[in-house]
Symmetry: C2
Subunit: 188 residues, 2 copies
DNA sequence: TCTTTAATTGACCACTCAATCAACAAACCG
DNA sequence: CGGTTTGTTGATTGAGTGGTCAATTAAAGA
């Protein structure tokens, strides 16, 4: 009997290893061998399951994005008005999504999306969803939800960027405070 | 001796070629040979003048940064109050500094600075200078200049990021409007 | 049959090196 | 002195070299 059901376990291990290695190295120039070693498998297996190095990293980013989506979905029900915004903001800067390796992976993903079509598509979908979530949440509390959503989106990206660049440990609280300050200022 | 004084000309050509190639390819993974060809010289000469591929790109970023500094210095004298802020914002999103290749080079520079100490130092200096400029300009018009400078800096970075990611041509006007809207909202 | 690996390959690229080229000036000459 | 030669040196390049790594292959292990 073959070790049945190994695939999802190996894949998950490789995805986590990829986030970890890329995030802590700060670059996509980690070798497949490094990622595989960190996941406890051989480089060939990584290719077997994902087909290419790019696909490993794209799967990792999909994983990060779906984590974020879950955080939001988990917090939203039963909230309304200004609270809904706070939920999205908190999810953005909450512990699992705002770890240093993750933020660093995001930065590299941004750069990759200039070059890799699939990354660009993925990012576009993510941005659209975030924007739409923000607009819906803003509609009851702002008289120009689209414009604020745009600015808010840019601000969140900027805070992520600066968190990635900072050598200090990420500070979710400060980030949340900054963004909420902006919202308090701008909301009618 | 050969044509004397070739060095600064070649260096400038290489720097421009580097911005162009890296910016339009969207990645640092352009070969030295590509950059050299675009500058009309041999790869060996590029190494002769700059020592390494990284140094070529770092010189290119220094050039971009000093362009930005000049834009600011050119606009500041004789202005005060809210106007000073507008000058810095305009310089950020003005034609020479907000071209698509330049913005794209910035994104790659951010990613590089996670890995390359010299890039990190350079970026730190730049950020500190920008922050200090912003605080000085904010002091007369805001009751919490540091906090606003932080947010404003993040917002500008975010707008840059989104401009880099967008395939559409960069729109300096829209960027300036967004940032100025924020300022109008937040200033007392 | 599904999973896993060791071993290998093939391509690519940063960087080096030895050699050539071209311009200027000092030395030399008639 | 005008002209010619020659030494010096910055500028420039073609042709490697060494090393890296993604991806493939073939075969073992469960």
């Amino acid at each position: 009997m073959p070790k049945l059901g190994a695939e999802p376990i190996r894949k998950a291990a490789l995805i986590n290893a990829a986030i970890d290695q890329v995030g802590s190295a700060g670059t996509l120039d980690v070798t497949v061998a490094q990622i595989a070693r960190a996941a406890g498998v051989s480089p060939a297996l990584a290719h077997h399951y994902f087909g290419s190095k790019d696909q490993i990293f794209l799967a990792a980013m999909r994983h990060i994005m779906s984590n974020f989506g879950e955080s939001v979905l988990l917090g939203l029900p039963g909230t309304s008005g200004r609270r809904r915004l706070a939920v999205i903001v908190s999810a953005s800067f909450g512990a699992p999504n705002f770890r240093h390796e993750v933020v660093s992976a995001w930065l590299n993903f941004y750069a990759l999306s200039l070059v890799n079509d699939e990354a660009a598509r993925l990012l576009k979908v993510y941005h659209r969803r975030l924007r739409s979530n923000l607009i819906v949440a803003l509609r009851p509390v702002s008289d120009r939800p689209e414009a604020v959503a745009e600015t808010l989106g840019a601000l969140i990206d900027g805070v992520y960027l600066r968190a990635a660049l900072s050598h200090a440990p990420t500070n979710g609280f400060a980030a949340v405070r900054m963004v909420n300050d902006y919202l308090d200022e701008v909301l009618t």
